[in-house]
Amino acid sequence: MSTVAFAGIAILTLAAALAAATLQKLMHAALSFAVMFVGISAFFFFLGAEFVGLVQIFVYIGAVAVLIVFTILLTRHDVGKVRGFNWSGVFVAVAVFGGLVWTISKTKSLSIVPQQIKPVTVQRIGELLMTNYVWPLQCVGVLLTAALIGALILVMEEKS
Protein backbone atom coordinates (compact mmCIF):
# COMPACT_ATOMS: atom_id res chain seq x y z
CA MET A 1 0.00 0.00 0.00
CA SER A 2 2.59 2.45 1.10
CA THR A 3 4.62 1.65 -1.96
CA VAL A 4 1.62 2.42 -4.08
CA ALA A 5 1.12 5.64 -2.21
CA PHE A 6 4.76 6.40 -2.62
CA ALA A 7 4.64 5.77 -6.31
CA GLY A 8 1.55 7.89 -6.67
CA ILE A 9 3.01 10.77 -4.81
CA ALA A 10 6.28 10.47 -6.68
CA ILE A 11 4.58 10.47 -10.02
CA LEU A 12 2.42 13.44 -9.05
CA THR A 13 5.37 15.36 -7.78
CA LEU A 14 7.68 14.64 -10.66
CA ALA A 15 5.02 15.25 -13.21
CA ALA A 16 4.15 18.57 -11.66
CA ALA A 17 7.81 19.44 -11.45
CA LEU A 18 8.39 18.54 -15.05
CA ALA A 19 5.42 20.61 -16.01
CA ALA A 20 6.67 23.52 -13.98
CA ALA A 21 10.02 23.30 -15.70
CA THR A 22 8.83 22.91 -19.22
CA LEU A 23 5.39 24.42 -19.68
CA GLN A 24 5.44 27.27 -22.08
CA LYS A 25 2.96 29.40 -20.22
CA LEU A 26 4.46 30.91 -17.19
CA MET A 27 1.25 30.93 -15.21
CA HIS A 28 0.71 27.26 -15.80
CA ALA A 29 4.23 26.57 -14.79
CA ALA A 30 3.72 28.48 -11.59
CA LEU A 31 0.59 26.54 -10.80
CA SER A 32 2.32 23.28 -11.56
CA PHE A 33 4.97 24.46 -9.21
CA ALA A 34 2.36 24.80 -6.49
CA VAL A 35 1.11 21.35 -7.25
CA MET A 36 4.61 20.05 -7.01
CA PHE A 37 4.80 21.44 -3.51
CA VAL A 38 1.62 19.72 -2.59
CA GLY A 39 3.40 16.58 -3.68
CA ILE A 40 6.44 17.36 -1.66
CA SER A 41 4.39 17.96 1.44
CA ALA A 42 2.61 14.75 0.78
CA PHE A 43 6.02 13.15 0.85
CA PHE A 44 6.63 14.76 4.17
CA PHE A 45 3.36 13.49 5.54
CA PHE A 46 4.27 10.13 4.14
CA LEU A 47 7.56 10.21 5.95
CA GLY A 48 5.99 11.24 9.24
CA ALA A 49 7.03 14.85 9.25
CA GLU A 50 3.54 16.31 9.35
CA PHE A 51 4.58 19.66 10.64
CA VAL A 52 7.10 20.21 7.92
CA GLY A 53 4.55 19.25 5.36
CA LEU A 54 2.06 21.74 6.71
CA VAL A 55 4.67 24.44 6.85
CA GLN A 56 5.66 23.59 3.31
CA ILE A 57 2.14 24.10 2.06
CA PHE A 58 1.63 27.15 4.18
CA VAL A 59 4.80 28.82 3.02
CA TYR A 60 5.09 27.71 -0.58
CA ILE A 61 1.52 27.71 -1.70
CA GLY A 62 0.29 30.43 0.59
CA ALA A 63 3.21 32.73 0.10
CA VAL A 64 5.81 31.81 -2.49
CA ALA A 65 3.41 30.72 -5.17
CA VAL A 66 1.36 33.85 -4.65
CA LEU A 67 4.51 35.90 -4.88
CA ILE A 68 5.46 34.19 -8.09
CA VAL A 69 2.14 34.77 -9.69
CA PHE A 70 2.24 38.35 -8.57
CA THR A 71 5.61 38.72 -10.17
CA ILE A 72 4.25 37.19 -13.32
CA LEU A 73 1.44 39.67 -13.17
CA LEU A 74 3.77 42.61 -12.73
CA THR A 75 6.09 41.52 -15.52
CA ARG A 76 3.41 40.21 -17.80
CA HIS A 77 4.27 42.47 -20.70
CA ASP A 78 7.30 40.33 -21.07
CA VAL A 79 5.64 37.02 -20.48
CA GLY A 80 4.83 36.20 -24.02
CA LYS A 81 8.06 37.42 -25.46
CA VAL A 82 10.59 35.50 -23.47
CA ARG A 83 10.75 32.20 -25.18
CA GLY A 84 13.46 29.91 -26.17
CA PHE A 85 14.91 26.94 -24.56
CA ASN A 86 18.47 26.11 -23.84
CA TRP A 87 18.95 22.52 -24.79
CA SER A 88 22.37 22.28 -23.29
CA GLY A 89 20.68 22.60 -19.92
CA VAL A 90 18.81 19.42 -20.60
CA PHE A 91 22.02 17.58 -21.20
CA VAL A 92 23.53 18.91 -18.08
CA ALA A 93 20.47 18.02 -16.05
CA VAL A 94 20.31 14.57 -17.49
CA ALA A 95 24.01 14.10 -16.86
CA VAL A 96 23.66 15.16 -13.29
CA PHE A 97 20.69 12.92 -12.84
CA GLY A 98 22.56 10.06 -14.28
CA GLY A 99 25.52 10.72 -12.07
CA LEU A 100 23.35 10.95 -9.00
CA VAL A 101 21.40 7.82 -9.74
CA TRP A 102 24.57 5.95 -10.44
CA THR A 103 25.99 7.12 -7.17
CA ILE A 104 22.85 6.20 -5.28
CA SER A 105 22.71 2.80 -6.82
CA LYS A 106 26.36 2.27 -6.12
CA THR A 107 25.94 3.08 -2.46
CA LYS A 108 24.72 -0.13 -0.90
CA SER A 109 23.93 1.28 2.49
CA LEU A 110 21.01 3.20 1.09
CA SER A 111 18.73 0.31 0.37
CA ILE A 112 17.19 0.18 3.81
CA VAL A 113 13.65 0.25 5.07
CA PRO A 114 12.67 2.65 7.82
CA GLN A 115 12.07 1.53 11.32
CA GLN A 116 8.94 2.25 13.24
CA ILE A 117 8.91 5.80 14.45
CA LYS A 118 7.14 7.88 16.99
CA PRO A 119 5.79 10.91 15.14
CA VAL A 120 7.47 14.17 15.89
CA THR A 121 4.88 16.23 17.66
CA VAL A 122 4.53 19.94 17.16
CA GLN A 123 5.24 20.34 20.84
CA ARG A 124 8.57 18.62 20.48
CA ILE A 125 9.51 20.83 17.56
CA GLY A 126 8.44 23.87 19.52
CA GLU A 127 10.55 22.83 22.47
CA LEU A 128 13.54 22.23 20.24
CA LEU A 129 13.07 25.57 18.54
CA MET A 130 13.06 27.31 21.87
CA THR A 131 15.98 25.40 23.33
CA ASN A 132 18.57 23.90 21.02
CA TYR A 133 17.66 25.91 17.98
CA VAL A 134 16.86 29.22 19.58
CA TRP A 135 19.80 31.01 17.96
CA PRO A 136 19.10 29.76 14.47
CA LEU A 137 15.52 30.74 15.07
CA GLN A 138 16.50 34.27 16.00
CA CYS A 139 18.81 34.46 13.02
CA VAL A 140 16.09 33.31 10.70
CA GLY A 141 13.84 35.93 12.21
CA VAL A 142 16.38 38.61 11.51
CA LEU A 143 16.96 37.21 8.05
CA LEU A 144 13.30 37.29 7.24
CA THR A 145 12.97 40.83 8.46
CA ALA A 146 15.96 41.85 6.38
CA ALA A 147 14.58 40.04 3.36
CA LEU A 148 11.26 41.77 3.83
CA ILE A 149 12.82 45.20 4.01
CA GLY A 150 15.25 44.40 1.21
CA ALA A 151 12.49 43.21 -1.07
CA LEU A 152 10.48 46.32 -0.34
CA ILE A 153 13.42 48.56 -1.14
CA LEU A 154 14.11 46.65 -4.33
CA VAL A 155 10.64 47.06 -5.67
CA MET A 156 10.18 50.66 -4.66
CA GLU A 157 9.72 52.98 -7.59
CA GLU A 158 13.02 54.24 -8.87
CA LYS A 159 13.20 57.94 -8.51
CA SER A 160 13.91 59.42 -11.87
Binding site: M1, L54, V66, F70, L73, V122
Partner: protein
Protein backbone atom coordinates in the same frame (compact mmCIF):
# COMPACT_ATOMS: atom_id res chain seq x y z
CA UNK B 1 -28.86 7.85 27.53
CA UNK B 2 -27.42 11.27 27.01
CA UNK B 3 -24.15 9.59 26.20
CA UNK B 4 -25.71 7.48 23.51
CA UNK B 5 -27.29 10.52 21.93
CA UNK B 6 -24.03 12.25 22.09
CA UNK B 7 -22.18 9.46 20.34
CA UNK B 8 -24.90 8.45 17.98
CA UNK B 9 -22.99 9.37 14.84
CA UNK B 10 -19.88 7.58 15.99
CA UNK B 11 -21.83 4.49 16.61
CA UNK B 12 -23.41 4.84 13.18
CA UNK B 13 -20.02 5.05 11.55
CA UNK B 14 -18.76 2.03 13.43
CA UNK B 15 -21.79 0.14 12.40
CA UNK B 16 -21.28 1.05 8.78
CA UNK B 17 -17.64 0.01 8.93
CA UNK B 18 -18.32 -3.24 10.78
CA UNK B 19 -18.77 -5.39 7.66
CA UNK B 20 -15.22 -4.81 6.57
CA UNK B 21 -13.58 -4.21 9.90
CA UNK B 22 -12.83 -7.91 10.51
CA UNK B 23 -11.19 -8.92 7.27
CA UNK B 24 -9.99 -5.91 5.40
CA UNK B 25 -6.49 -4.60 5.95
CA UNK B 26 -5.96 -1.53 8.06
CA UNK B 27 -5.48 0.86 5.27
CA UNK B 28 -8.75 -0.11 3.70
CA UNK B 29 -10.58 0.58 6.95
CA UNK B 30 -8.84 3.86 7.18
CA UNK B 31 -9.84 4.79 3.69
CA UNK B 32 -13.37 3.72 4.24
CA UNK B 33 -13.58 5.65 7.48
CA UNK B 34 -12.23 8.71 5.80
CA UNK B 35 -14.67 8.38 2.97
CA UNK B 36 -17.52 8.14 5.43
CA UNK B 37 -16.30 11.23 7.21
CA UNK B 38 -16.08 13.10 3.98
CA UNK B 39 -19.49 12.03 2.93
CA UNK B 40 -20.96 13.12 6.22
CA UNK B 41 -19.14 16.43 6.06
CA UNK B 42 -20.30 17.15 2.56
CA UNK B 43 -23.80 16.13 3.34
CA UNK B 44 -24.09 18.26 6.41
CA UNK B 45 -22.41 21.34 5.08
CA UNK B 46 -23.99 21.34 1.66
CA UNK B 47 -27.33 21.14 3.38
CA UNK B 48 -26.29 23.88 5.70
CA UNK B 49 -25.15 25.90 2.71
CA UNK B 50 -28.54 25.47 1.09
CA UNK B 51 -30.29 26.37 4.30
CA UNK B 52 -28.18 29.39 5.00
CA UNK B 53 -28.45 30.73 1.49
CA UNK B 54 -32.19 30.91 1.78
CA UNK B 55 -32.19 31.95 5.41
CA UNK B 56 -29.86 34.77 4.63
CA UNK B 57 -32.16 36.08 1.99
CA UNK B 58 -35.11 35.78 4.29
CA UNK B 59 -33.42 37.38 7.23
CA UNK B 60 -32.12 40.17 5.07
CA UNK B 61 -35.59 40.57 3.73
CA UNK B 62 -36.95 40.88 7.21
CA UNK B 63 -34.31 43.38 8.06
CA UNK B 64 -35.17 45.37 5.01
CA UNK B 65 -38.82 45.13 5.85
CA UNK B 66 -39.75 42.72 3.06
CA UNK B 67 -40.49 39.04 2.87
CA UNK B 68 -37.61 37.52 1.05
CA UNK B 69 -38.06 34.31 -1.01
CA UNK B 70 -41.32 32.68 -0.12
CA UNK B 71 -42.52 31.09 -3.35
CA UNK B 72 -40.79 27.76 -3.60
CA UNK B 73 -41.92 25.33 -0.99
CA UNK B 74 -43.10 26.14 2.48
CA UNK B 75 -41.81 29.54 3.54
CA UNK B 76 -39.66 29.43 0.36
CA UNK B 77 -37.47 26.77 1.89
CA UNK B 78 -36.95 24.99 -1.43
CA UNK B 79 -35.58 28.11 -3.02
CA UNK B 80 -32.01 26.76 -2.97
CA UNK B 81 -33.13 23.69 -4.88
CA UNK B 82 -34.58 25.89 -7.52
CA UNK B 83 -31.47 28.00 -7.59
CA UNK B 84 -29.31 24.90 -7.87
CA UNK B 85 -31.26 23.60 -10.81
CA UNK B 86 -31.05 26.96 -12.47
CA UNK B 87 -27.30 27.11 -12.02
CA UNK B 88 -26.76 23.63 -13.31
CA UNK B 89 -28.66 24.14 -16.50
CA UNK B 90 -27.24 27.56 -17.24
CA UNK B 91 -24.80 27.91 -20.11
CA UNK B 92 -21.23 27.74 -19.02
CA UNK B 93 -19.56 30.68 -20.71
CA UNK B 94 -15.81 30.74 -21.00
CA UNK B 95 -14.27 33.90 -22.48
CA UNK B 96 -12.50 33.37 -25.76
CA UNK B 97 -9.21 34.73 -24.62
CA UNK B 98 -9.36 33.16 -21.21
CA UNK B 99 -6.73 30.77 -20.03
CA UNK B 100 -9.04 27.81 -20.15
CA UNK B 101 -7.29 25.51 -17.77
CA UNK B 102 -6.76 28.09 -15.15
CA UNK B 103 -10.23 29.39 -15.61
CA UNK B 104 -11.54 25.93 -15.01
CA UNK B 105 -9.32 25.03 -12.11
CA UNK B 106 -9.97 28.16 -10.08
CA UNK B 107 -13.46 27.28 -8.74
CA UNK B 108 -12.42 23.69 -8.22
CA UNK B 109 -9.47 24.70 -6.15
CA UNK B 110 -11.37 27.26 -4.15
CA UNK B 111 -14.15 24.84 -3.25
CA UNK B 112 -11.72 22.06 -2.48
CA UNK B 113 -9.68 24.12 -0.10
CA UNK B 114 -12.77 25.44 1.67
CA UNK B 115 -14.04 21.94 2.21
CA UNK B 116 -10.60 20.71 3.27
CA UNK B 117 -10.53 23.33 5.96
CA UNK B 118 -13.69 21.89 7.44
CA UNK B 119 -11.96 18.59 7.99
CA UNK B 120 -10.07 19.44 11.13
CA UNK B 121 -12.81 21.02 13.22
CA UNK B 122 -14.22 19.02 16.09
CA UNK B 123 -17.97 19.03 15.69
CA UNK B 124 -18.73 17.12 18.81
CA UNK B 125 -17.25 14.74 21.32
CA UNK B 126 -15.07 12.33 19.28
CA UNK B 127 -16.37 13.92 16.11
CA UNK B 128 -13.30 15.32 14.50
CA UNK B 129 -13.12 14.09 10.90
CA UNK B 130 -9.36 14.15 10.58
CA UNK B 131 -7.22 14.25 13.68
CA UNK B 132 -4.02 16.03 12.80
CA UNK B 133 -1.51 17.07 15.37
CA UNK B 134 -1.12 20.45 13.74
CA UNK B 135 -4.77 20.84 12.90
CA UNK B 136 -4.88 24.58 13.27
CA UNK B 137 -1.89 24.88 11.03
CA UNK B 138 -3.55 22.64 8.52
CA UNK B 139 -6.56 24.89 8.57
CA UNK B 140 -4.54 27.92 7.72
CA UNK B 141 -2.32 26.09 5.26
CA UNK B 142 -5.25 25.11 3.13
CA UNK B 143 -6.92 28.42 3.82
CA UNK B 144 -4.02 30.27 2.36
CA UNK B 145 -4.44 28.33 -0.86
CA UNK B 146 -7.65 30.26 -1.40
CA UNK B 147 -5.63 33.26 -2.42
CA UNK B 148 -4.02 31.29 -5.19
CA UNK B 149 -7.38 30.14 -6.35
CA UNK B 150 -8.75 33.67 -6.37
CA UNK B 151 -5.77 34.79 -8.33
CA UNK B 152 -6.28 32.00 -10.79
CA UNK B 153 -9.83 33.10 -11.25
CA UNK B 154 -8.77 36.65 -11.89
CA UNK B 155 -5.95 35.76 -14.19
CA UNK B 156 -7.69 33.00 -16.01
CA UNK B 157 -10.62 35.21 -16.92
CA UNK B 158 -8.37 37.64 -18.74
CA UNK B 159 -10.65 40.46 -17.78
CA UNK B 160 -9.65 43.64 -16.11
CA UNK B 161 -12.50 43.57 -13.63
CA UNK B 162 -11.63 40.04 -12.75
CA UNK B 163 -8.03 40.90 -12.33
CA UNK B 164 -8.72 43.98 -10.25
CA UNK B 165 -11.16 42.10 -8.11
CA UNK B 166 -8.67 39.34 -7.60
CA UNK B 167 -6.00 41.84 -6.67
CA UNK B 168 -8.28 43.47 -4.18
CA UNK B 169 -9.25 40.15 -2.74
CA UNK B 170 -5.71 38.96 -2.44
CA UNK B 171 -4.56 42.22 -0.96
CA UNK B 172 -7.11 42.21 1.77
CA UNK B 173 -6.81 38.48 2.37
CA UNK B 174 -3.09 38.73 2.84
CA UNK B 175 -3.50 41.73 5.06
CA UNK B 176 -6.05 40.08 7.29
CA UNK B 177 -4.43 36.70 7.31
CA UNK B 178 -1.83 38.10 9.64
CA UNK B 179 -4.19 39.26 12.38
CA UNK B 180 -6.22 36.12 11.85
CA UNK B 181 -3.29 33.87 12.54
CA UNK B 182 -1.88 36.00 15.29
CA UNK B 183 -5.15 36.12 17.15
CA UNK B 184 -5.08 32.36 17.14
CA UNK B 185 -1.63 32.39 18.70
CA UNK B 186 -2.70 33.28 22.25
CA UNK B 187 -5.03 30.34 22.34
CA UNK B 188 -2.33 28.05 21.01
CA UNK B 189 0.08 29.48 23.54
CA UNK B 190 -2.21 29.02 26.48
CA UNK B 191 -3.25 25.52 25.50
CA UNK B 192 0.18 24.52 24.32
CA UNK B 193 -1.05 22.60 21.32
CA UNK B 194 -2.14 23.05 17.71
CA UNK B 195 -4.55 20.22 18.06
CA UNK B 196 -8.18 21.47 17.94
CA UNK B 197 -9.34 18.69 20.20
CA UNK B 198 -6.93 19.68 22.87
CA UNK B 199 -8.00 23.29 22.50
CA UNK B 200 -11.60 22.31 23.02
CA UNK B 201 -10.57 20.13 25.90
CA UNK B 202 -8.83 23.02 27.56
CA UNK B 203 -12.13 24.90 27.68
CA UNK B 204 -14.12 22.11 29.22
CA UNK B 205 -14.20 23.10 32.87
CA UNK B 206 -16.43 25.52 34.68
CA UNK B 207 -16.08 27.87 37.57
CA UNK B 208 -18.85 27.54 40.19
CA UNK B 209 -20.55 25.13 37.85
CA UNK B 210 -21.97 27.68 35.49
CA UNK B 211 -19.20 29.96 34.26
CA UNK B 212 -17.52 28.09 31.41
CA UNK B 213 -13.80 28.43 30.93
CA UNK B 214 -14.12 29.57 27.35
CA UNK B 215 -11.36 31.73 26.19
CA UNK B 216 -13.80 34.35 25.08
CA UNK B 217 -14.40 35.06 28.74
CA UNK B 218 -10.86 36.28 29.29
CA UNK B 219 -9.92 39.82 28.24
CA UNK B 220 -7.39 38.64 25.72
CA UNK B 221 -9.72 35.95 24.49
CA UNK B 222 -12.54 38.38 24.02
CA UNK B 223 -10.34 40.82 22.17
CA UNK B 224 -8.80 38.06 20.09
CA UNK B 225 -12.20 36.70 19.29
CA UNK B 226 -13.47 40.05 18.07
CA UNK B 227 -10.38 40.50 15.95
CA UNK B 228 -10.67 36.96 14.71
CA UNK B 229 -14.24 37.47 13.79
CA UNK B 230 -13.52 40.67 11.90
CA UNK B 231 -10.63 39.01 10.07
CA UNK B 232 -12.87 36.11 9.31
CA UNK B 233 -15.37 38.51 7.76
CA UNK B 234 -12.67 39.81 5.49
CA UNK B 235 -11.30 36.39 4.65
CA UNK B 236 -14.69 35.27 3.46
CA UNK B 237 -15.25 38.56 1.63
CA UNK B 238 -18.40 39.34 3.53
CA UNK B 239 -20.00 42.71 3.99
CA UNK B 240 -18.81 45.18 5.10
CA UNK B 241 -15.57 43.97 3.54
CA UNK B 242 -16.90 42.80 0.23
CA UNK B 243 -14.96 45.22 -1.91
CA UNK B 244 -13.38 42.51 -4.11
CA UNK B 245 -16.76 41.56 -5.43
CA UNK B 246 -18.77 44.68 -4.79
CA UNK B 247 -21.20 44.67 -7.70
CA UNK B 248 -21.56 48.41 -7.80
CA UNK B 249 -17.80 48.83 -8.24
CA UNK B 250 -16.27 46.04 -10.25
CA UNK B 251 -19.25 43.91 -11.34
CA UNK B 252 -18.44 40.76 -9.39
CA UNK B 253 -14.69 40.92 -8.98
CA UNK B 254 -12.85 37.75 -9.81
CA UNK B 255 -16.15 35.98 -10.46
CA UNK B 256 -17.20 38.33 -13.20
CA UNK B 257 -16.44 35.95 -16.04
CA UNK B 258 -18.00 32.95 -14.35
CA UNK B 259 -21.44 31.72 -14.84
CA UNK B 260 -23.54 28.72 -14.19
CA UNK B 261 -22.20 26.00 -12.05
CA UNK B 262 -18.75 27.48 -11.74
CA UNK B 263 -20.29 30.59 -10.31
CA UNK B 264 -22.33 28.45 -7.96
CA UNK B 265 -19.15 26.74 -6.86
CA UNK B 266 -17.57 30.05 -6.03
CA UNK B 267 -20.66 31.00 -4.15
CA UNK B 268 -20.64 27.76 -2.28
CA UNK B 269 -16.95 28.06 -1.50
CA UNK B 270 -17.56 31.43 -0.01
CA UNK B 271 -20.21 30.12 2.29
CA UNK B 272 -18.26 27.07 3.22
CA UNK B 273 -15.31 29.27 4.01
CA UNK B 274 -17.61 31.21 6.25
CA UNK B 275 -18.69 28.05 8.00
CA UNK B 276 -15.13 26.96 8.40
CA UNK B 277 -13.93 30.18 9.89
CA UNK B 278 -16.90 30.36 12.20
CA UNK B 279 -16.36 26.79 13.22
CA UNK B 280 -12.80 27.54 14.03
CA UNK B 281 -13.90 30.56 16.03
CA UNK B 282 -16.28 28.37 17.99
CA UNK B 283 -13.56 25.84 18.55
CA UNK B 284 -10.96 28.32 19.64
CA UNK B 285 -12.91 30.75 21.69
CA UNK B 286 -16.39 29.57 22.35
CA UNK B 287 -15.62 26.27 23.98
CA UNK B 288 -16.26 24.18 20.90
CA UNK B 289 -18.96 21.61 21.50
CA UNK B 290 -19.10 22.23 25.24
CA UNK B 291 -22.27 23.38 26.88
CA UNK B 292 -22.37 26.88 28.27
CA UNK B 293 -23.41 25.66 31.71
CA UNK B 294 -22.58 22.43 33.34
CA UNK B 295 -26.04 21.09 33.81
CA UNK B 296 -26.81 21.43 30.13
CA UNK B 297 -24.12 18.89 29.27
CA UNK B 298 -26.78 16.29 28.67
CA UNK B 299 -27.70 17.95 25.38
CA UNK B 300 -25.53 16.36 22.68
CA UNK B 301 -22.26 18.06 22.00
CA UNK B 302 -22.75 18.53 18.23
CA UNK B 303 -25.98 20.31 19.02
CA UNK B 304 -24.10 22.83 21.03
CA UNK B 305 -21.54 23.24 18.31
CA UNK B 306 -24.13 23.93 15.67
CA UNK B 307 -26.05 26.25 17.96
CA UNK B 308 -22.91 28.34 18.44
CA UNK B 309 -22.11 28.14 14.76
CA UNK B 310 -25.61 29.30 13.91
CA UNK B 311 -25.35 32.23 16.21
CA UNK B 312 -22.13 33.29 14.51
CA UNK B 313 -23.66 32.85 11.08
CA UNK B 314 -26.60 34.92 12.16
CA UNK B 315 -24.21 37.65 13.16
CA UNK B 316 -22.65 37.45 9.73
CA UNK B 317 -25.97 37.98 8.13
CA UNK B 318 -26.95 40.58 10.60
CA UNK B 319 -23.81 42.56 9.83
CA UNK B 320 -24.49 42.27 6.13
CA UNK B 321 -27.88 43.74 6.68
CA UNK B 322 -26.61 46.53 8.81
CA UNK B 323 -23.28 47.88 7.67
CA UNK B 324 -22.31 49.72 4.50
CA UNK B 325 -19.30 48.69 2.45
CA UNK B 326 -15.95 50.12 3.54
CA UNK B 327 -13.45 51.72 1.26
CA UNK B 328 -10.41 49.74 0.11
CA UNK B 329 -7.80 51.99 1.68
CA UNK B 330 -9.73 52.06 4.95
CA UNK B 331 -9.75 48.31 5.04
CA UNK B 332 -6.02 48.14 4.56
CA UNK B 333 -5.26 50.88 7.05
CA UNK B 334 -7.48 49.20 9.55
CA UNK B 335 -5.63 45.94 9.11
CA UNK B 336 -2.11 47.24 9.45
CA UNK B 337 -2.62 50.03 11.91
CA UNK B 338 -5.18 48.61 14.23
CA UNK B 339 -5.76 44.92 13.80
CA UNK B 340 -2.17 43.86 13.75
CA UNK B 341 -1.06 45.79 16.84
CA UNK B 342 -4.13 44.67 18.71
CA UNK B 343 -3.46 41.09 17.71
CA UNK B 344 0.05 41.34 19.09
CA UNK B 345 -1.35 42.91 22.20
CA UNK B 346 -3.53 39.88 22.62
CA UNK B 347 -0.49 37.68 22.53
CA UNK B 348 1.17 39.82 25.19
CA UNK B 349 -1.98 39.98 27.25
CA UNK B 350 -2.29 36.22 27.12
CA UNK B 351 1.30 35.91 28.29
CA UNK B 352 0.56 38.35 31.10
CA UNK B 353 -2.52 36.41 31.99
CA UNK B 354 -0.53 33.22 32.13
CA UNK B 355 2.29 34.58 34.19
CA UNK B 356 0.07 36.32 36.71
CA UNK B 357 -1.57 33.09 37.59
CA UNK B 358 -4.54 32.74 35.24
CA UNK B 359 -6.79 34.02 38.01
CA UNK B 360 -8.56 37.23 38.77
CA UNK B 361 -5.27 39.05 39.02
CA UNK B 362 -4.24 37.89 35.57
CA UNK B 363 -7.64 38.81 34.30
CA UNK B 364 -7.27 42.39 35.49
CA UNK B 365 -3.69 42.68 34.34
CA UNK B 366 -4.38 41.50 30.83
CA UNK B 367 -7.40 43.74 30.71
CA UNK B 368 -5.11 46.60 31.68
CA UNK B 369 -2.62 45.77 28.95
CA UNK B 370 -5.29 45.62 26.30
CA UNK B 371 -6.96 48.77 27.55
CA UNK B 372 -3.71 50.70 27.49
CA UNK B 373 -2.87 49.64 23.96
CA UNK B 374 -6.39 50.18 22.79
CA UNK B 375 -6.53 53.68 24.20
CA UNK B 376 -3.11 54.52 22.80
CA UNK B 377 -4.07 53.24 19.39
CA UNK B 378 -7.33 55.13 19.47
CA UNK B 379 -5.55 58.33 20.27
CA UNK B 380 -2.90 57.74 17.63
CA UNK B 381 -5.31 56.74 14.93
CA UNK B 382 -7.90 59.34 15.70
CA UNK B 383 -8.70 61.01 12.39
CA UNK B 384 -11.45 63.32 13.55
CA UNK B 385 -9.14 66.21 14.09
CA UNK B 386 -8.07 66.11 10.51
CA UNK B 387 -11.45 67.26 9.26
CA UNK B 388 -11.61 70.98 9.04
CA UNK B 389 -14.94 72.66 9.46
CA UNK B 390 -16.52 72.67 6.08
CA UNK B 391 -16.62 75.99 4.33
CA UNK B 392 -19.24 76.66 1.73
CA UNK B 393 -17.38 78.67 -0.79
CA UNK B 394 -20.00 78.82 -3.44
CA UNK B 395 -23.03 78.93 -1.28
CA UNK B 396 -22.95 82.56 -0.40
Amino acid sequence: MADSFDQIFIRAKQWLLSPISCRAPDWLIQVASSLLNIAALLGVFLTLFALISVLERKILGRMQNRYGPNRVGPFGLFQPVADGIKMLIKEDIVPARADKIVHFLAPVLIAATAILALGVIPYGRNMTPFIIDGGILFFFAVGSTTELAVFMAGWGSNNKFSMLGAMRAIAQMISYELPLIITVLPVVMIVGSLNPDKIVGAQSTYSLGFVPHWFVFTPWGATAFILFFVSGLVESNRTPFDVPEGESEIVAGHMTEYSGFKYATFFMAEYIGMFAISGLGVTLFLGGWHAPVHFLEFIPSYAWFFVKLSILLFIYIWLRGTLPRTRVDQIMNFAWKFMLPMAFTCVIAAAVWHYTGRGLRGWLWSLGVIAVVYVTLSILLDTRRKFAPRTYRFAE
